[in-house]
Amino acid sequence: MAFLEINDVHKIYGQTVVVDTFNLQIEQGEFVSFLGPSGCGKTTTLRMVAGFIVPTSGSIVINAVDVTRMPPNRRNVGMVFQSYALFPNMTVAANVGFGLKVAGQPARAIKQRVAEMLEIIHMTEYATRYPYQLSGGQQQRVALARALAIQPQVLLLDEPLSALDAKIRISLRQEIRTIQRQLNITTIYVTHDQEEALSLSDRIVVMNQGRIEQIGTPFAIYNRPRTRFVASFVGTLNVLTAEVVDAATGRIMIDGQEIHVNGILPDHPDPSLAIALRPEVISLNGVYGQTANHMQGTVEDVTFLGPVVRTRVRFDQHTIHLDSFNTPQLVPPRNGDSVTVSFPPEACLVLSDTPGAEV
């Protein structure tokens, strides 16, 4: 039995199904992200685990105790909010110690635990400051320490980095991951930022319109998306419409140029299908060799993005984007150049439109 189980949970408001048949098992110490666009039900699910919302049906079990209808203040679950939610009338130390004081712990024990937590977030010297005297990043670290001070069974984070600047977001992201591993605490992290989910998680739950689209490791979610939604939400994607030439050997035709894909194609009545390609797997300089697919096209636009140079190439009907690293060796093409792009057959994803169906 898993440490945290979400069994067949639904949440319905009036006519609107906000969360639909949510099933998930999380192991002790695991870091799981809920990833999806706004309104996909990820926050609602997190809030059901926290106890702020009661599911319409289904159950939530933490450490073998059914908590589905237990009020939030008895669940021993730590929560970190996007808005930090520090108590403005208390110092940093009082904020961190609040949960222990409520639990009636002796002053000396509280003091010691608060000092420990401030040590972990490297903010010992800020103990007597008030929240308004701190930067956003510091406030969120205090909020994290406050949630962890009560030694919760589960740590829940609701878009904790959305209100912060890009540079601080990346450094705090690493800090959260380090602390989570250090304390080995079971964690659920809600975000709409794919890079956060990919870089932090042991597993990712991709959600859309109240349903789970896919559960998997970051690598599996990115490289083997099971639905078109997952493929397009996580990362940039070129989608091309191809005609099947020979389903058995994986030969297909795009804009009159024949390529091959790995594996056996679905023997569809409709002979056209959608193929997805990530911009970073497509090469301009032929590194993939003779066994790869090659296509002829014309450069339409070259955009410099810093570490990456993005080139838009036009075939007859389609355009694709491809990414190259900005290295000293790179000779960016010019608009109007005729180029050959190449990509390995195994990089072609054959897309399915049915949610839950294999791609």
Partner: protein, 271 residues
């Protein structure tokens, strides 16, 4: 951040500044100074504090003042106990109803005090509420609580807007706090300063209120001022100046209290 808007039209700023300084001066200071000067003329051809000593040495002044003072304190306590949880609950659970509630809290302006008192007396006629002194006092405090609602609700509402009520509540809940702990340790300390400003206005209103106290035949400060006005010449002016001074003294107390919560006044301050 950069400073506010264009700096081209300093003349506009100056025009409005001066207009308001002049209006403010006419409104506040001219009548006040006139009243002050008049109150000092009780002895013919010389300025002096005769009127003031007459007022302050009168036992009726002290009795009616302390009656109204304690009535105001009672009113504020009841009002705060009713409205803080209600306003908190509206913020937490019914944020969409806030405009409606805002409007409802204005209704005491719409129902005139005379209608209120007539209605109350007629309704509770020949019940213990109108046949005993205690009963009438209950009616008085009840009416004052109603009058205080718009001011108290709006002040507390402003205080609650300055904090993220829902996130703070949920944070406290997830840390194990029950409703009582949340109210006393999280919500109340954060709306305290806002609450004081509402309490201060309520205090000023109750101290000066005439109609209801008079109709309910209560020995309050308002009717005493009125009685004095019709029977004496210089003393009413002295009394007005004294009330004014007391009011500003209580503003001073509020300021002092809010400074002793220095961290917090930063938060419930500018938004």
């Amino acid at each position: 951040m950069a400073p506010a808007a264009s700096e081209n039209d300093m003349r506009h700023i100056n025009f409005w500044s001066w207009l308001w300084i002049i209006i403010g001066a006419i409104y506040f200071f001219v009548p006040l100074i006139a009243t002050l000067l008049f109150s000092l003329q009780a002895k013919r051809d010389e300025l002096g504090f005769t009127a003031y000593s007459n007022v302050l040495s009168s036992p009726a002044f002290f009795n009616s003042f302390s009656f109204s003072f304690w009535t105001a304190v009672t009113t504020i306590s009841i009002s705060a106990l009713l409205i803080v949880p209600t306003a908190y609950w509206v913020h937490l659970r019914l944020p969409r109803l806030r405009p409606v509630i805002d409007f409802i809290t204005l209704l005491p302006f719409v129902v005139p005090a005379v209608v209120l008192v007539f209605g109350l007396i007629r309704t509770y006629n020949r019940t213990p509420l109108t046949d005993s002194r205690q009963g009438l006092y209950v009616l008085l405090v009840g009416s004052y609580v109603m009058l205080s609602i718009p001011y108290m609700y709006r002040a507390i509402d402003t205080g609650l807007r300055a904090i993220d009520v829902r996130a703070l509540t949920e944070a406290a809940q997830s840390l194990g706090a029950d409703w009582f702990t949340i109210m006393t340790r999280v919500i109340f300390p954060n709306v305290y300063i806002a609450l004081l400003s509402g309490a201060f206005i309520t205090f000023a209103i109750v101290m000066g209120e005439f109609t209801i106290a008079f109709l309910l035949a209560q020995p309050a400060f308002g009717p005493y001022i009125s009685l004095l006005s019709s029977s004496k010449v210089y003393e009413p002016s002295a009394l007005a100046i004294i009330s004014f001074g007391l009011t500003w003294a209580s503003i001073g107390v509020v300021q002092w209290i809010s400074h002793s919560f220095s961290g917090q006044s930063q938060i419930t301050g500018p938004r």
